[in-house]
Amino acid sequence: MADLPPFRVLSPTAILGYGFPSASFEAGLAMKPDVIAVDAGSTDPGPFYLGAGLSFTDRSAVKRDLRHILTAGRARDIPVLIGSAGGAGARPHLDWCTQIIREIAAEEKLTGALAVIGADMDKALLSQALAAGQITALPPGPEAQADLIDSSSHIVAQMGEAPLIAALDAGARVIVAGRCYDPSVFAAEPIRRGYPPGLALHMGKILECAAIAAQPGSGSDCMIGTLDAEGFTVEPTAPERACTVASVAAHTLYEKSDPFHLPGPGGALDLTATQFEQRGARKVRVTGTTFIPAQEHIVKLEGARRTGFRTVSIAGARSPDFIAGLDDILQGVRDRVADNFADMQDGAAQLLFKVYGRDAVMGALEPLRHQPAHEVGIVIEAVAPSQDQADTICGFARATLLHFGYPGRVSTAGNLAFPYSPSDFKAGAVYEFSLYHLLHGADPATLFPLEMSRLEAPA
């Protein structure tokens, strides 16, 4: 493999739409990248965005980043890969991102082959797979359930590099892909060219968060990786940042339960022999990571389903006796609301209180619940089958708590300080993760359909 020249992958930003300094991007381009790749997605922001088919990043911010990336990629005729388009990478997200790309292509007069790769899963196929025992849990997650699959609004699978390589083989110069295993967009072209998959994927794993793995870290600044047959180096393109062994090794831990074995589509990264080595002040060299192919092809499924509608009210309290008696007071409010509304009694609607200054951040994990602050913030939350029901329960609970009479009450004009009028906010549809499971034995070549078109084609 001595004939593999250094291969450079530029990662402009941790999430498409988080931005990057123009000077950093220019510095990255001056290092002559062979590929520009960016990860647009995550399940971090929770189930809403997948379920609702909406992006968690702002359209104008995404368009700004894409304009820089696409014009640079086409000017140099190097591949541009965008993974987990629109954040959650389902069809509405993919269409949203593709539309932005087409707008930019028209405005900047860009040309070239465009690949769009879907990641949506067919519910009928998944129901069959579930019945055949081909959908397994990811501990500590629960077993999959047929009714949760049926009631999901969107289900995606994380694609590996194979569908991206198919697009590159078909001549794509810009690839916009639905939900991806994060490192895939960074590793696809180097793996296609014969670089070791373990190294390419590990480099992708670091690049997918861009300069977060640098010191000082940033999710909105560029990182470049240089891969060869024996290892890779990573460095931030902004001179005021540096990669250190500590910053890069620490990133390997991030959001993972086991840093030595990182499973993905088609196999797992093995870091048991990985070495991190400082090169100069700002680069880190990584060697020794290997890829262990899996016996069967496994993809991770992500699904979300709507469970109701939410209304919240935000208030504060400063009375020491009120704060001291809060558990009993909130129970009294619960009882009044339950007595007044039948949908509270049958469990269709839920009333929750989050008490900031006491245990709202950590909930059941909070060890200092018995030491509330001198003031507390209370988020009154109702979740119900309809928005109207949620509005009713939240409003009733808010009014009840405002005037609730408790033993020893001195401040009889009202228990709550409302920072806003109106005091209640419709938070809209509520979603939950319905699937976060593994699908076994599916053929990746048919799971992720490839659509080829041209940037210059009319939208």
Binding site: D44, P47, E255, P259, L352, M362, V383
Partner: protein
Amino acid sequence: MRQLSDIASVIRSKNAGPYALTFDILFKTQADFERAVGRALINPDLIARLYGLSPQDVLSIIAFPPAHAIKATIRRPLPSGAVGDTDIYGAQQHAPLLSLPLDPDWP
């Protein structure tokens, strides 16, 4: 009394998928990292006690020498984004670790 935050450069929490929460403790020095591993400073009983969990909800404790790090992973009380969840990203669950007292003979 010296505490964990005195010898760690990073103490953080984050989701590891929607059902698990993972804590990373990065030690400032290799010596303190090795001492922490040798003494099993971070162990399932400790994590269970700090967070009011039963020991079976502490899923793993793993040392990662390249980062001078010890990682502990627990079951989330509720899945990320479920009704009643308090921290969608899981990024603010680390605080009880900060003031973990060190043994009086910790050098």
